[in-house]
């Protein structure tokens, strides 16, 4: 059977499964729609959280990023896992004990202020839309590459599927489809990694193969990789060109941002008990770690494979490079997508791949008769092309396509749900039309989810030029606005309404202003985005860390000089600190 047919079968079967689950898990109350009736087993919730969390970026892009960044890619590995420790120990159990439906609702209640709730909803909607646009784009790309359909067609199919299970099933439908999606994506991710690890080192476990010796040589993989890439003028794989302070700040922003992302936090509202919220965060991280400890191995192996495919012999030797006409089939297939390209600058019919930005090495390369780097590889293709590079059977490639779509859809659905609950529960029911019946609120939630899907689809099809830039926004804003006020709301009885609002606004405006100034969004950057210009040498990706610190300082200072929170709020804080007494779904 050919690849396209197999891919249609794999993707079609996975879709049928998701729709079947959606019909089985239809939501009939707002409690089921927002938080799955608070009846989800903690292990199941952990798995759903993992799928919710691991987006198209984790599945498709991360290993490729690491392959080209080497040690510098560690910020994503630590940054996107370490936040779960903060969630488990500092947020999830207390928010579960508080026992309502949304993150802005907690902020509004704890700081006895509708204004605080509205500021939180605005942050939430902005963060979530930024994120969801990227997911829809990912769906479109996978469809167009593997199913050979127009991106628009792919988007419409993807939107249709999300529509069915998110709008009908709400959180309940999403939770159980996410479990299925996790299974699809983790199998799709690890199978090629295991095959490649075995081919390269004889050790099938990617986590260990990564530190094993390469077949046919006595060299450790990472030593060999360091040698191979430095011979071509690239930076040593196990080092980075980024400054320590920047690596530190980016890791903080990503970790804290993770713990402040509403679509992740809300997953811990769905479990029956406080102790389930704790263990559920642990299970989520176990399921996430399966992929996140595999990814750096995939990145290193892909970099080694790619480099050695092209540099077949000694660097500088006349026959040391791959003859263009003899390039493998997978290169030809990816050339068609434009994500891989070759230009024979010196007309020798061979491919030279090296770091021509390294002046010292470029001079040496000129002596070999090389006239510039001839290969361009988009790092997004590393995971998708991996099974082809390793010459795995077509069904593995089909599975990877289904896995990429599962990763994108599961995250998109989780985001759409928090957008819809933000609109129907926080804005309408909580602020503007408090007299709605439950049935009306449920309908409003469904309509909001449907509208959000259409907007997300539109953004996926017409990605505003700034999609890549705004990703830094999502984490930076979550880290600098939502996370500090939630954690202060639990761990301090003194922080009050005035402090929280001032803190949130400071964090938000500072972080947003910094990113806009260096990255530009609707306009050209105001300041050149180079390390010399950065505040303390911290890049816009890491600035959320500074925004977070400012938020804390401002909130504590303002709270000191204004009135203490009222008595009933202090009682509420004492109550959420103790597990006993958390009920089931709270109707209100």
């Amino acid at each position: 059977m050919d690849l396209t047919t197999l891919t249609y079968i794999a993707v079609g079967l996975s879709f049928a499964l998701y729709i079947g689950i959606a019909i089985w898990a239809k939501a009939s109350t707002t409690g089921e729609f927002y938080v799955a009736g608070k009846g989800v087993n903690p292990v199941v919730n952990g798995m759903a959280t993992a799928a919710d969390w691991m987006s198209a970026a984790s599945f498709i892009s991360m290993a490729g990023l690491i392959a080209f960044l080497g040690y510098g890619g560690s910020v994503y590995l630590m940054g996107w896992t370490g936040g779960y420790c903060l969630l488990a120990m500092l947020l999830a159990p207390y928010l579960r004990k508080y026992g309502k439906f949304t993150v802005p609702e907690f902020i509004g209640d704890r700081y006895y202020s509708k204004a605080a709730r509205i500021v939180a909803v605005i942050c939430l909607i902005f963060i979530s839309f930024t994120y969801v646009a990227g997911q829809m784009r990912g769906v479109g790309i996978v469809f167009s590459r593997f199913l050979e359909v127009e991106i628009l067609t792919g988007l419409i199919v993807g939107m249709g599927i999300v529509f069915i299970y998110a709008v009908l099933g709400g959180m309940k439908g999403i939770t159980y489809t996410q479990v299925a999606q996790y299974c699809v994506l983790i199998v799709a991710y690890t199978i090629p990694a295991i095959f490649i690890a075995f081919q390269l080192t004889g050790n099938p476990l990617p986590q260990l193969a990564f530190g094993s010796t390469v077949n046919g040589t006595g060299e450790f993989m990472l030593d060999r990789l360091n040698q191979v890439v430095t011979e071509l003028g690239f930076l040593e794989y196990t080092t980075t060109s980024k400054s320590t302070i920047d690596i530190f700040a980016i890791t903080v922003a990503l970790m804290v941002g993770t713990a402040g992302l509403p679509h992740v936090i809300v997953r811990f509202f769905t479990v029956p008990k406080v102790r389930d919220a704790r263990s559920s965060a642990g299970w989520a991280l176990v399921f996430i770690a399966l992929l996140y400890t595999t990814a750096p191995a995939v990145g290193a192996m892909a970099r080694l494979n790619l480099t050695e495919t092209i540099q077949t012999g000694e660097v500088g030797a006349e026959d040391g490079n791959l003859v263009f006409e003899e390039r493998p089939d997978w290169m030809k297939r990816w050339e068609a997508t434009g994500l891989l390209s070759f230009e024979d600058k010196n007309g020798d019919g061979r491919i030279q791949y090296y770091n021509d930005a390294n002046e010292e090495f470029a001079a040496k390369a000129a002596e070999f008769g090389w006239q510039g780097n001839e290969l361009k590889v988009d790092r997004d293709i590393m995971v998708l092309a991996n099974p082809e590079i390793a010459q795995l059977p077509n069904w593995v490639i089909a599975l990877v396509a289904a896995g990429g779509i599962a990763a994108a859809l599961s995250t998109a659905a989780g985001l759409l749900l928090v957008i819809s609950s933000g609109v129907s529960h926080d804005l309408l029911k909580g602020t503007f039309t408090p007299n709605m019946t439950e049935g009306q609120e449920l309908m409003a939630g469904r309509i909001a989810a449907a509208v959000a899907i259409l907007i997300a689809g539109y953004l996926g099809y017409n990605p505003p030029g700034f999609v890549a830039q705004v990703v830094a926004f999502a984490f930076g804003l979550a880290a600098s606005s939502l996370f500090p006020v939630i954690i202060m709301g639990i761990f301090s009885k003194k922080v009050n309404r005035e402090g929280a609002i001032a803190g949130m606004l400071t964090g938000l405006i500072f972080t947003m202003g910094y990113i806009l100034a260096y990255k530009g969004v609707f306009f050209d950057p105001i300041i050149a985005n180079t390390p010399e210009n950065w505040l303390f040498g911290i890049s816009p990706e890491g600035i959320g860390a500074v925004g977070m610190v400012l938020n804390f300082i401002v909130a504590f200072s303002v709270s000191r000089v204004t009135a203490e929170p009222p008595e009933h709020i202090q009682v509420m804080i004492e109550d959420i600190r103790v597990p006993k007494g958390a009920g089931g779904a709270v109707d209100h």
Partner: protein, 86 residues
């Protein structure tokens, strides 16, 4: 806050402080601040600092959460604040 709850909260905060300190040392310490020093040690094909940044810290994160879960469950029972199964 009654004395019992205050004592519970104090123990909780103490436990979390210890675990967060370990969390910080392993990721930010071993993986970032002291990475160069640790990279001079090579074990089983990995430079140690690099290994902590790309593998070790993640394993430690998982372990920390389960230690937290176990200790908190014990603490909940000790103070009689565990939610009942009814």
């Amino acid at each position: 806050m009654d004395e019992q709850s205050a004592a519970y909260w104090k123990r909780n905060v103490k436990l979390v402080s210890v675990l967060v300190a370990i969390w910080f040392i392993v990721s930010y310490g071993f993986g970032i601040l002291f990475v160069d020093a640790l990279n001079s040690i090579e074990i089983a094909g990995f430079q140690l600092g690099f290994w902590f940044a790309q593998q070790g810290s993640i394993y430690v994160f998982v372990a920390l959460i389960f230690v937290y879960v176990a200790k908190m469950n014990k603490l909940d029972r000790e103070f009689g604040v565990r939610e009942d199964d009814d």
